[in-house]
């Protein structure tokens, strides 16, 4: 993938993370009640998945994907 495309992907991931962060804040302050813990956990897992996949490149742990191309 070219540099511009990768930078654009990073920006989209940031927007996704920001939206999810806003959503979890809303869940907490609006007091959804008993479901809030489950909702917050699900949102946190979604944020973690985005970071792992797009920022930490967990896919490169596969020997076939790993290399020196960053």
């Amino acid at each position: 993938m070219e540099q511009a495309a990768q930078l654009s992907l990073g920006a989209r991931v940031l927007i996704g993370l920001a939206v999810l962060t806003g959503a979890e804040f809303w869940v907490a302050v609006s007091g959804v009640g008993g479901a809030s813990f489950v909702l917050l956990a699900l949102i946190a897992l979604a944020k973690a998945a985005l970071i792992l996949e797009y920022f930490m490149h967990v896919g490169k742990l596969s020997p076939s994907e790993s290399g020196g191309d960053g």
Partner: protein
Amino acid sequence: MTTAIATLKYQIYNRRLGLWLFMLSDSMVFLALLAARYYMQGTHRPPEVNQTLGLFLTCLLLASSFCANRADVSIAHGDRAAFLRNLAATIVLGVMFLLLVATIEWPEALHYAPPSTGFGTALFSLTGLHATHVLSGIIVLLFALFKGWRGGYAQDHWGAEGSIIYWHFVDLVWVFVYPTLYLVG
């Protein structure tokens, strides 16, 4: 030449695997502290907790991760100026995070300081351990910045990439620390 490239790829794979194994083992410590918070307090959260500060700290770390990602992409494509610029921004945001934790979050949290409350114990344990990771991340990024500034990472930029992955790990941990301390309850 082909053999040299294959050897370098193998070395980088081993380094990557080593870093991930380290982060996996490190995350177990955080997992234990997160579990302890729920074991001691359930989902109870004191009303004094500053949720706005928590949100702002989260935004700082997200912004720093974004800059770190841009630095990662830049050095992978040989764009040294952008790498240095974005890595410096990452470090500045990390320092801001650390300063806010030390000067606002912890003094405010003295209301429920340990050992008087279980929540205070969880808060200071989690944020304290996380802050030490932020500090070590900043130090590692400073090394990468210095090496990049000196012209390093021309052939093998794993040093920069590895330090940036570690910084993302610090952000990843906060993804779970933030709701546990500031939102749940």
